[in-house]
Structures are given as C-alpha cells and as structure tokens.
Assembly symmetry: C2
Homo-oligomer: 408 residues x 2
C-alpha cells in the first residue's frame, strides 16, 4: 500500500471533459489499497478570465484581494473533480488550501508555506476517500487566504507529500520529463530518468524552467521523491531525488541550460579599494535587482584600477544602468558599458566536483565552434559562460554533443 | 455615526461596471463617520455558469461539493468590490463567510446560521475600512464551507446586522419596496412604508415573495430594522420592524397575497374516529409534504363519517394522492377527489385581531364579484380563501380595492 500525491496542472483540467479524464486516469493507476491525494490547479484560462474582470475595475488590485479572487479558481476545480470521482463510484472529498492545512506567511500573491497540517486530508484517506486538494493556495495564521505565486500547485503537492511522508509526488505535465537540454533547441536532448534536487535547482537557477525551484527545495527538505510525469505517455518521466540510484550516473553532466534573458554590465576603471564591490552590489540588492555572474578583473595594476563585470536579467537593465550611473561621481569610475546581445550557456551535474576536466571540455567545445566566451562563472555543480546571443543554439548543441556523445 | 449593513444582489453586481456603480453608490450614501458593511451575492449568471459545468460531470453532485463550488461565486464579487472601493480611494476589506464569522450547521446547500462572530469585520470597520462580506455562505464548526440556500445573501446581511447591532440593514432590490399586493396583478397596489416582521412572514408564507422568511425571522429575533430599498429609486423603500411607527397603521390590512401554486385534496367519507387526522397528516409529514389549509367537515352525522379537505403545493400533488391512496383500505374511506384549478387569496395585517369585521369584508368583496369560496382558513394575522384559479386576479383586485379604498 502506497501513499501517492498526484498533481495536475491547469491544462489537464481545462474542461469538464478533461476533469473526467483525470478522474479516470487516477482510478486506473490506483492499486488496490493505495491512498491517493490529487492536487489541482485552476481550470485552463480561469486565471486569465478573472484578471480580465480585474482590469475593468482597477489597475492597482490590492494583493490581498488578488489572492481572495484567484483562490476561487482552484476551489472550482476541486469541487468538480471530487464530483467526477463520485460519478465514477469513488468516494472523494475536496479541500481548500486552508482545509488541507497549508499554512503560509502573509506575503500575498507569493506566499511561502510555513507548515502543513494534513490532519483532515489524512482522515479522508483513512475513510477510503481520494483527497482532492486545491493547489496554489494557503491560509495565514490570521485566516487570510494567500496564493503561492508561479508554480504554486507544484509547491502545494510537494509540501503535502513531505508532510504526509508520501511514497512519491507525481507532477503531471505536458512534457515527457526533464531533458538534458531544451528539446526545442537541442534536438538530441535526452530525457533523464533521474536528477538530483541540487541539479534541478541549479538548472532552474540557470534558466531551465520545468519545475519551480521552491517546489524542488521543499522536496529536498522533506526528502520527497518527485516524479515528473507526462499526461500522455505513461512510461516516460523523471525522478527527482537526493541521490542517483541508477547506472545513468555515468553521465557526469546532467543538463545543458541556456538563458537568453541576460544582459552584461561592465563598470570600467573602478579604483581598486576595499569595499568597492560592496558599494555597488549592496545598492543593487536594496533595489531588489538580482545580480548573477560577477567577475572582477585587473585592468591596470599600475593605475590601481579594476573592471567589474556582471549580468542582470534584461528587464532590470535600465534600472541597473541608472543605479550604477548614480554612483559614478561618488566612486570615481571611468564609465559603464552594457551589452544586451549575450546569452548564458551552462552545464550542470552533481558529479562535477570530482571531475576536473569538465570546464576544459566545455570550453573546448565552444572554441572548436569558434564561439567566443565572455564572462565565466562556476558553482559546485555548474559552469556557466556568457556568449554572443546569436550563437546560443549552436553552443547548446555542440556542448550537449560533447557530453552526451556516448548515448546511442 | 451609524452602523449600516447594505446588501446588493446578483443583478446589482452582474458586471465589473455595475460593481463600480455599487461602490460609488455606497460612498455617495455614506455619511462622514458612518461604518458600512456591504454584503454581496455572486455576479449575475455566475451560479448558472457553475451549474452548467456540473451538468457536464454529474447529475448527482454531492451537496458538500456543490457548496464548495457555489461559494466561489461570492468570493469573486467581494474581491472585485473591495478593489472597486480601493480604486475610489476608500480602504476596504473583503471577507468570506468564514472570515465574517458566519457559523452554520452542516446542512449543505441550505444551512442555517447558528451564530455570528463578527470580530474581524468590526476590526476592519474600526480601521476605517468598508467591510465587504460574501453573502449566502458560511462555515461549520468543522471548517466545512456551506451555503444558505435561496435568498441566502439576505439572511447573511440580516444576521450580521443583528450580531453587530447595526442601526439598519438595507436590502437593495430591483423593486421599489414591499407592496400591498403584487403590482403585476393589482395595478393599484401601493408601496407600504412599513410592515411588521410577522406580517412579512405571513405574506411570505402565503405566497408573496419579496424577502426570504428566514431573513425576516432572523431580523425579528435580532430586532434588526430591515430597509427594503430600490437600486434605482432613492426615496422608495419599506421598513420591516417589530411595530408600526407611522400613521399608516390605520390600514388594518397590510397586504393581499395570492398563490396559484396550490392544489386541493378531498378525502371523502372518512370514518369519524379519534386519530384519523393524525394518521393522514403524520404520513404526509414523514414524506416531507407541507400541508397548508386543512378543513374537516361532517358529511353525515348519522353515518358517522366526515370529509377531510386540505391543500398542498401543486408539485406535491401526485405524491400526495399516491400516499393517501395507500391509506384507503386501512382507513376505510370512500374516495379521494383532487382539484388543481384553485388558487389561494389572502389578506394579511397585524391589526386584524381586534377588528372582527375583516373576514366579513373580504367574503363580501368576493361574493359581490360572484367568486365562489372553497376552503377558508385563518391565522392570527391573516385570512385565506381557496377560490377558482381563473378568478384569482379579479379576486385580488376587488379585495384590494375594498381594503385600500381610503387611499387617494
């Protein structure tokens, strides 16, 4: 007997017909004795429809009221899905986020789960019911309805699975699983049977977007085995867990990620004094701008000046330039250069640490293709390079080929 | 400084544009220092739209899930209305039934309010906010979402007004107020400035449907002055309270009600023994059939048999006949006659008790018009007659003319 949490997103429950299919699919998969919790999102376009109503009323929706509004979306789905189970002769009970014990902080529209008290969900399961839980929503200690932001239903599913010590948390998507690269860019990308939490997090950080980092973090914390599955292909899917269990670990590199949404900023001729980097980057942090790759280079040791190069996401570029500009007189640097025609290409793999040749292999692949490398940055389990934006597809392919060549 | 609860129904909040109008109207009416609670229903066709989704999934929606589903309707409205206030510069806060402390029993889809704890609503008011409360919904002690059935938003508004000791509960409708008769039937019907709770309840019981009896009962219990107001006409409206305060009380009769949805059943030739009426009517009660007017008449004192005549609502007629038929052998009566071509016409007035001529006046008006009276029944504040269905309009008019003739 297993306890399984299954999550279906908005496109899987977009119509009453699809909701009935989800109910059938869940019952077909269910082994005798299995306990099943189903977490669902709002039906298809519901959120857009609700936002269209908002637009007619205000351009400054209070965030608390936004959550009050959006939380209705999942509440509709859970009632209908519970009814679909009942229609198939399977007892089921729906739960709002509050009823499922999803307690969050007060940060409306992107609240974080603080704790999960699944008592009522457990009670329903022990009565032989399937529990149908509204994803994406929670409740504060004060009884305020909150939502969890993008990918919130994944987060609900993983958090519940963790709190209930579920055997597995299955995230159904319309892709087959997690790939070694974006298959739209790299046709040879292969589906990974397993990845680790840290690889998954690193890939998300580097721009590959299958699962929300928050859900993966919760999975890691609660030791939840996350199975990213396809709605269409029963055999496909990727397991996300703490460590590899299969032979597949021979591939030290688990993924090639790319991110075209970056811009490079170079602050040139900065006097080389202690606290210079702090001055710039604390100002950026205060303005809530995420700085990604940072490289400090000595321009001229005689003049005692350095260049500071870093990347930000493209939408933050103009704010960044304005902010850095304000520091020019104060800090006495020479100038600022920006470059929007860049992209970041990264390789990720938890086994990288003990394998010193990875960086050389990556740089070699790029060099052979004549692709110039700008900034380089590394983490424990990744290496990233800034390259010209128009070469990103080519770069992803040559790197992927180099690392996954053994694959037949 | 007054505390005012205002309720707007689904047609008043059917579109974002109308929601904005409600917000403006509330702010225009609001005196400096007034505290305002607005109770709203689901937007226009929302409930129908949700039921259409249900129809595609099941014909036997579990009632708990029905409440889970329908409660989303008001939740959408409150978020949008709170946003509309904010857009006008007025701080506002929305409340689900649960957040407003509307505690009910577990009778899903027609739950009764057991208690109201308006602490959070009061807090919002004392912070200078307008409180926007979802009508029609509540929560059980176990945290289950319930709905209150037809007219539930009126019930929420009156219950909240009672618990908060509001100065008045304003129910906005698309009629001008409460009339002495249905204006579609009796063109001379006049709007009443005041009626009592008991008159209102009696009129509802007798088929006049402006306000749900449950809301009026709660008003009576909590001594809430209910102001039935028009969305379109600011001066119009009727006060429902315990006693009259105005000269208008000179009219002993406050309303002429009619109900065409009745059928007459005559059980003929019943042996006149103790317990006979009990046997029939307890069987009806077990089957949840409401029996209205009951008359027992002696057919023949020599044969010691009687006739029992009563009315039920038309949709219950066939069940009633089947039920009574089962008793025929057991009770040994002669036969059953039914008549669907009847209607009930009633006069209602709290001052009726001390005025013995009312019944005679009513019967006189009907006699003059040549309208035959079948069954007659009376309560403390009403007299009802069964008449031929095709004469109901005429009857309402002649009776109304007789009692309200003094009116210019």
């Amino acid at each position: 007997m297993a306890l399984i949490v299954k999550k279906f997103g908005g496109s899987s429950v977009a119509t009453p017909e699809k909701i009935k299919q989800v109910a059938k699919r869940v019952l077909r998969d269910k082994q005798a004795g299995d306990q099943v919790v189903v977490v669902v999102s709002a039906m298809g376009d519901t959120t857009d429809d609700l936002l269209a109503l908002v637009e007619q009323i205000t351009t400054a929706m209070p965030l608390r009221e936004m959550d009050m509004l959006l939380a209705t979306g999942e509440q509709v789905t859970i009632a209908l899905l519970a009814a679909a189970f009942a229609e198939l002769g399977q007892a089921a009970q729906s739960f709002t986020g509050a009823q499922a014990g999803i307690c969050t902080n007060k940060n409306h529209t992107k609240a974080r789960i603080l704790s999960v008290d699944p008592t009522r969900v457990r009670d329903a399961l022990s009565e032989g019911k399937i529990a149908v839980v509204a994803g994406f929503q929670g409740i504060t200690a004060e009884g305020e309805i909150t939502t969890l932001g993008r990918g919130g239903s994944d987060t609900t599913a993983v958090a519940l699975a963790g709190a209930m010590k579920a055997d597995v948390c299955e995230i159904f998507t319309d892709v087959k699983g997690i790939y070694s690269a974006d298959p739209r860019i790299v046709p040879e990308a292969r589906m990974m049977k397993e990845v680790t939490y840290s690889e998954m997090l690193e890939m998300a950080r580097l721009g590959a977007g299958v699962m929300q980092p928050r859900a993966v973090e919760l999975g890691e914390r609660g030791d939840v085995v996350i199975h990213v599955r396809s709605t269409f292909c029963e055999e496909c899917g990727t397991m996300i867990r703490r460590d590899y269990t299969m032979q597949e670990k021979e591939f030290i590199i688990r993924g090639v990620a790319h991110d075209a949404n970056v811009a490079k900023v170079a602050v040139l001729g900065v006097p080389d004094q202690p606290g210079i980097a702090y001055k710039i980057f604390s100002r950026m942090a205060d303005a809530n701008i995420d700085v990604d790759m940072i490289v400090q280079s000595v321009r001229s040791s005689e003049q005692n000046i350095i260049d500071l190069v870093f990347t930000v996401s493209k939408p933050e570029l103009s704010r960044t330039v304005a902010l850095v500009g304000q520091l020019k007189d104060e800090m006495g640097f020479l100038g600022v250069q920006v470059d929007e025609n860049v992209a970041k290409i990264s390789v990720v793999g938890a086994g990288m640490l003990g394998n010193p040749g990875i960086a050389a292999t990556m740089f070699g692949a790029l060099a052979e293709a004549g692709i110039n490398i700008g900034v380089i940055s590394t983490s424990e389990i990744s290496i990233s390079c800034l390259i010209p934006a128009d070469r990103v597809k080519e770069a992803a392919n040559v790197i992927h080929k180099r690392f996954f060549a053994e694959e037949k």
